[in-house]
C-alpha cells in the first residue's frame, strides 16, 4: 500500500475538510470542487488507480480497511464473485463532525462519490457509491461488463 500511516490520528482534519468543501462549493461551485477530488484520486491515489487499471482492486480494499480501522469506522466488507461491497454503518468523519456539533456541508460525501468514480474511470471497474445519509453508505467495486 503506497500510504500506510501509523501513530496518532488527528480527527479534527475532518472539520477542515468540511470547511474547505463548503468554501470551494460556495465560492467556485460543485464542478470545481469535483475537479479537486478528481485530481486527488488520479494523482495522490495514482498507485491505487494503476492497480485497478491492471485489474487488481485489492489495494483499494486494503486502503479502505486500513484507514477505516484507524479512525474507528463501523463497516463490513463482503465479496460475491468479482463484486466487493463495503457497507459503511457509521462513517468516522460524519460521526466526528456530529460529535462536535458541526454543520455538515451538503457536498461532504462528494469526496467519496467523486474519488471512487475517478479511481474507476478508464479501468475495468465501476465503483458506485450509494450515500444513504446519517453516516451510512454502500461502496461497491464491480467489474464492468465487457
Amino acid at each position: 500500500m503506497r500510504y500506510q500511516e501509523t501513530g496518532q490520528v488527528h480527527m479534527d482534519f475532518h472539520r477542515t475538510t468540511n470547511g474547505t468543501i463548503a468554501y470551494l462549493r460556495e465560492a467556485y461551485g460543485q464542478e470545481f470542487l469535483d475537479e479537486v477530488f478528481e485530481r486527488t484520486a488520479c494523482d495522490v491515489y495514482r498507485s491505487i488507480r494503476d492497480s485497478l487499471m491492471l485489474g487488481d482492486p485489492e489495494p483499494l480494499v486494503e486502503h479502505w480497511r486500513h484507514f477505516f480501522d484507524r479512525e474507528g469506522g463501523d463497516y463490513t466488507i463482503e465479496r460475491d464473485g468479482d463484486t466487493i461491497t463495503m457497507t459503511v454503518h457509521r462513517c468516522p468523519a460524519i460521526a466526528y463532525l456530529e460529535s462536535r456539533g458541526i454543520e455538515i456541508d451538503p457536498a461532504f460525501c462528494r469526496q467519496t462519490v467523486v474519488v471512487n468514480n475517478a479511481l474507476a474511470a478508464g479501468t475495468p471497474f465501476t465503483i458506485p457509491t450509494e450515500v444513504q445519509g446519517g453516516g451510512r453508505c454502500v461502496q461497491t467495486i464491480r467489474r464492468a461488463k465487457p
Binding site: 477542515t16 479537486v36 485530481r39 494523482d43 495522490v44 484507514f67 479512525e71 467519496t112
Partner: protein, 162 residues
C-alpha cells in the same frame, strides 16, 4: 472518505487548483480557513494568552505526530519543528507539491493572532525541507525583532499585497 491521514495531500491539491486561478484565490482561501480557526481558538488564546497557545500546540504536536520541541518562556512560545508531518507527507506523495505549501500555516494562524492580540512569526527556513521555527509573542516589537532575524519569514498576506 478521504482519511484524516491524507487530508494534507488533499489540501495540497486544493492549493494548486486555486493557485492556477491566481495567487489571490489561494490567499483568500487561507483567510477563510483563518476565520474557521478563529472561531475555534481566538477566545481561548485571548483569555489564556501564551499559556493557552502552548497548550494548543502541545496537543497538536502529539496528535499530528510532529517531531518538535516546544518551549514557553516569559516572552514567547516557540515551536521548533524538526520534522513537519504535513510537509513530509506532501513530499512523500505521488502528486507534486504546491510551491506555497508552507505558507498555509501562517495563512490560517495570522487571522487567529489578529483576533486574539498575539503576534506570530514563522521562519520557514526552507520550502522543500520539513523543518521550521514558529514563535508566538505577546509583544509586537519583540515579534518584529525575531522576524528580522528569520532566514525565510512567511508573510502570506503582506507578500500578496506586494
Amino acid at each position: 472518505m478521504i482519511p484524516t491521514d491524507h487530508f494534507v495531500r488533499f489540501y495540497n491539491e486544493v492549493f494548486k487548483a486555486l493557485e492556477a486561478r491566481g495567487h489571490d484565490h489561494l490567499v483568500a482561501y487561507w483567510r477563510a480557513l483563518g476565520t474557521l480557526q478563529t472561531t475555534e481558538l481566538a477566545e481561548s488564546f485571548r483569555t489564556g494568552g501564551l499559556q493557552a497557545a502552548f497548550d494548543y500546540w502541545s496537543r497538536i504536536r502529539d496528535e499530528e505526530n510532529c517531531e518538535a520541541d516546544l518551549e514557553l518562556t516569559d516572552d514567547y512560545l516557540e515551536f521548533r519543528m524538526h520534522r513537519c508531518p504535513s510537509l513530509s507527507k506532501v513530499l512523500d506523495n505521488d502528486a507534486a507539491p504546491s510551491p506555497f505549501y508552507c505558507d498555509h500555516c501562517m495563512g490560517w494562524i495570522e487571522p487567529v493572532m489578529e483576533a486574539c492580540g498575539l503576534y506570530a512569526v514563522l521562519d520557514m527556513e526552507s520550502r522543500s525541507e520539513p523543518h521550521c521555527v514558529f514563535r508566538v509573542y505577546a509583544d509586537k516589537a519583540k515579534a518584529e525583532a525575531f522576524e528580522r532575524q528569520a532566514a525565510l519569514p512567511s508573510r502570506p498576506y503582506a507578500d500578496a499585497k506586494e
